[in-house]
């Protein structure tokens, strides 16, 4: 028995410790966001956050994930209330088949948590491990820029309202 903290909730998981986190997220916790793309850590479709850093859940055994904060796509928002990065991907219509997009969103989320003002070059460099086959790259980049703007203006807004309250 292993305890995983996923999207702010604690889960008891009964599985072989060598099981890649991806299978547990999908099958035991019913979270569809992380996708199986290669099982080799080569494509990024399975990207989730572990303590705010992007990891490839297809090659991360659950024993490694124990005691860490795991965030998946589902942790960023819902269909009715998507998070800022999800909203930006919808606004830019940044998907074709969309299979790589959850991984893209999670990798972008990791960047924006660390640096809400990335340069275009930083965005490209940061997103590079993740593959997209439909060729949606330009829209993905636009969505990351849009999300960065939204996060910055939300932060400024919240700073202003805190200032006003004081």
């Amino acid at each position: 028995m292993l305890t995983l903290s996923v999207n702010g909730r604690s889960h008891q998981v009964e599985a072989d410790g060598a099981t890649p986190l991806l299978y547990v997220l999908r099958n035991d916790l019913g979270l569809n966001g992380a996708k199986f793309g290669c099982g080799l850590g080569q494509c990024g479709a399975c990207t989730v956050l572990m303590d705010d850093k992007p990891v490839l859940s297809c090659i991360t055994p659950i024993t490694v994930a124990e005691g860490r904060r795991i965030t998946t796509l589902e942790g960023l928002g819902t269909l009715d209330n998507p998070g800022p990065v999800q909203r930006a991907f919808i606004a830019e219509q940044a998907a074709q088949c969309g299979f790589c997009i959850p991984g893209m969103i999670m990798r972008a989320e990791a960047l924006l948590r660390r640096n809400p003002q990335p340069s275009d070059k930083e965005i490209r460099g940061h997103m590079s491990p993740n593959l997209c086959r439909c060729g949606t790259h330009m829209r993905i980049l636009a969505a990351v820029r849009r999300a960065a703007r939204a996060i910055r203006s939300a932060a400024a807004e919240s700073a202003r309202s805190q200032e006003a309250r004081r």
Binding site: L31, F89, S128
Partner: protein, 744 residues
């Protein structure tokens, strides 16, 4: 601008478009030609109404509300949204009022494959007419009820309203029989000036679920009691399973069963990772006999040129006529290339009570159903195939095969839903590739810089080995009582397969085009986005550039010189104008510009692409700077959808062109993952991609999905030649190939 003889103002373009609309609307097919013919022949119905004429096969209005059906499948191309727009427009309802059902053998029309950029022509045309006719029938029912002439009624938001304010909803008005009628050849279509939805960028209906983790793909389907299976594939195409020790594998934790039928080998477990571990163990416990069956990769193109072929003369200009003038010739090569879906193929199947249900991301649920029924020797009506999305496929990938895997395993384990997920290396090794091809072209320039003689030959394998029958389901080859793959036939013109776009749209004095069709397929091949058009357009448009250079002409002007089709000219001119194409531009060292154009299949969308790139001589690295495309897809339903397809096509084609080749030895495929088969990454992208659209209201829909593939490849090749002075004719243009060509 004065140095730019063919520049085109937007005003002139729009004026030209307007004139075209008038002339085409008068001669609008399919009705005008049909009504002009002798009466015994009934007029052709529009789109897929030809094969499924009953209105209620497409549209139902009942207690459940308004339901629209299509036999086409969402593949990530956004077809569901575009079809919804067309249906809602002509039905006079809001998109959210429609329940939309896609490819399902128990529910929807049989529209064959979702392929060939045909969905707008086939399905959107059918839905458009069916919706318009349904709307008029509903208005007719209201007219009878209210005792008011139809002209005094309006349909809006799923209800019919009279001028006196009386109102009846579609659900009130629709009886069970109202829409159970055959479609008429003519419909009262809406005037483009009244469109609320067509031509507007409606947001894709599938994206919110995809970006928030809802069940969006067959990979996400988790049925009660579902178990996980993995297949152990042969080590190479011809390998046969000599022996396998299953006892130890069957004792592994969670393993429910191993399935062996000849060389078909699979394992089922309760949990997914147990199935993965059991698959690995089973692979280690199996012994295969294999032999060399592939061409020598070092001499692949000799094999393509010399394999037994059936020859088809597509255009029969005289061969080798005496023309005075300069003659050029060139030969172009394309390797096998992958679909390379990011998510490997997956399917779920459930055998129960003598029936089989298969959830699949196949492009053709009906042909797949027939093939599975044949493979399992079941009646077709006992097999039910339901489409669910998968990862983008770009043609015939492993979708049908994994559905066959699931069907085989599920029938061995009745009562439990079986999910089969291919591994990355299985997808890389077993999907049918885009065919290796060779083209040769020889042309003679006349004294005035025109092409007097054009001789073109293309050597290619088949470009479609879809099921078909069970013989085109790869797992069926491995059964103890195997199905053998049928000898493929070429796809006939005018669409063509290996010869797709082999016939130039340009008007030359003398043109001869020959297709050498190679039936033998030592390496498995089938439809990859664009089929032969990718290679043929790459070859034609590279060679047009070579001829322009030889004629001392600007490449864009040289194309226009030979191009009579007005819509083609508009697209070429618009791309040139938006790109800022100028004759003999002064560019920094190492930079180049290239241009290319094609009308996909010579009957679908018109697309021109201009590219600027930079070559780093020391490394052979190409850096794409800008790509500007112009496109005419007829009447545009969703402009953002068209743009998304063209943008994606440009990036994908750039990836094929700069990076991609399947590798193999004489026995096995050796490109088995993303490190041995690299594709384009974010760092390789151009700084800008622009897509400019020409809308043609009232014109037929023209398929867009594959039209950027060929022009992009040629535009890159032409830009590379302009940057380095060296012409590359063998794909892909990897760093190593570029360095070798420019002599570093």
């Amino acid at each position: 601008m004065s140095a730019d003889p063919f520049s085109l103002s937007r005003r002139k373009l729009l004026a030209g478009g307007g004139a075209l609309v008038v002339s085409f609307s008068l001669a609008r097919s399919p009705f005008s030609t049909a009504t002009a013919q002798a009466p015994p022949q009934p007029p052709r119905l529009p789109g897929s109404l030809r094969t499924t004429p009953m209105l209620d096969a497409w549209i139902r209005v009942d207690a459940e509300g308004i339901t629209v059906f299509t036999g086409k499948a969402e593949l990530g191309q956004g077809i569901k949204t575009a079809l919804l727009q067309v249906a809602a427009e002509e039905l006079s309802v809001e998109p959210r009022q429609i329940r939309f059902i896609t490819a399902d053998t128990a529910k929807t029309p049989n529209e064959g494959y979702t392929a060939g950029s045909q969905s707008m022509q086939d399905s959107a045309t059918a839905i458009r007419h069916a919706a318009a006719q349904a709307r008029e029938l509903l208005i007719g029912a209201a007219s009878a009820r209210f005792g008011v002439p139809a002209e005094q009624l309006t349909a809006n938001e799923a209800a019919v309203t009279a001028v006196d304010g009386r109102r009846a909803s579609y659900q009130d008005l629709a009886s069970a029989e109202l829409l159970h009628v055959a479609a008429q050849p003519q419909s009262k279509l809406k005037d483009p000036s009244s469109y609320r939805l067509i031509g507007k960028p409606l947001e894709r209906v599938d994206i919110p679920a995809k970006v928030t983790g809802a069940v969006a793909y067959v990979q996400d389907l988790r049925l009660p009691g579902m178990v996980h299976a993995r297949v152990v594939r042969p080590s190479s195409y011809g390998a046969r399973l000599r022996s396998v020790e299953i006892a130890a594998v069957e004792r592994m934790a969670g393993v429910l069963k191993t399935v062996r039928d000849g060389s078909f080998l699979a394992v089922v477990a309760e949990r997914e990772f147990q199935a993965v571990q059991a698959m690995d163990a089973l692979a280690l416990a199996s012994r295969w006999d294999e032999s060399k069956s592939l061409p020598d990769p070092a001499r692949l193109y000799d094999w393509v040129r010399n394999a037994p072929a059936k020859d088809y003369v597509l255009q029969d200009g005289r061969s080798g006529i005496e023309t005075s003038g300069r003659t050029l010739e060139a030969v172009y090569h394309r390797p096998y290339q992958l679909h390379g879906s990011i998510g490997p193929s997956c399917a779920v199947a459930l055998a129960e009570g003598g029936s089989l249900t298969v959830w699949t991301h196949s492009q053709g649920v009906y042909p797949l159903r027939d093939a599975i029924a044949e493979m399992l020797r079941m009646a077709k009506d006992k097999v039910h195939c339901i489409h669910m999305e998968g990862s983008g496929c770009y043609g015939h990938n492993g979708a049908d095969d994994v559905a066959a895997d699931a069907a085989l395993i599920a029938t061995a384990l009745p009562g439990r839903p079986v999910r089969v997920q291919w591994t990355r290396d299985q997808e890389h090794a077993w999907e049918p590739f885009g065919a290796a091809m060779v083209t040769s072209v020889r042309a003679t320039l006349d004294g005035s810089g025109g092409v007097a003689d054009w001789q073109y030959e293309v050597w290619s394998n088949a470009h479609s080995t879809r099921p078909g029958g069970a013989g085109n389901l790869m797992p069926a080859w491995h059964l103890a009582a195997p199905f053998t793959q049928p000898v493929p036939e070429p796809i006939p013109q005018p669409t063509g397969g290996g010869d797709r776009n082999a016939i130039p749209l340009y008007r030359f004095a003398n043109t001869r085009v020959v297709h050498h069709f190679i039936p033998d397929m030592p390496v498995r091949v089938s439809a990859l986005r664009g089929l032969g058009a990718y290679m043929n357009v790459f070859s034609l448009e590279s060679f047009m550039d070579e001829l322009a250079l030889a004629a001392g002409a600007d490449p864009v002007e040289f194309r226009l010189r030979h191009l009579q089709d007005m819509r083609a000219r508009d697209v070429v001119q618009l791309a040139a104008e938006k790109f800022g194409w100028t004759i003999a531009p002064k560019l920094p060292k190492g930079r180049g510009r290239g241009f290319a154009f094609a009308r996909y299949k010579n009957l679908a969308a018109y697309t021109a692409v201009a590219v600027e790139l930079e070559v780093e001589r020391e490394t052979g690295q190409i850096r794409l700077l800008s790509c500007v495309a112009a496109d005419d897809s007829g009447e545009i339903v969703n402009p953002d959808g068209v743009r998304n397809q063209i943008e994606g096509g440009i990036v994908q084609s750039a990836s094929w062109t700069l990076r991609e080749a399947v590798t193999f030895d004489e026995t096995r495929i050796t490109s088995l993952d993303w490190s041995t088969y690299p594709i384009l990454r974010f760092g390789d992208l151009p700084e800008r991609i622009e897509v400019h659209l020409i809308d043609r209201p009232r014109e037929p829909f023209l398929g867009t999905g594959e039209s950027a593939q060929g022009p992009t490849a040629a535009a890159i090749a032409n830009a590379l030649a302009s940057a380095t002075g060296v012409r590359l004719r063998e794909l892909p243009f990897t760093r190593r190939n570029i360095k070798a060509a420019i002599g570093i």
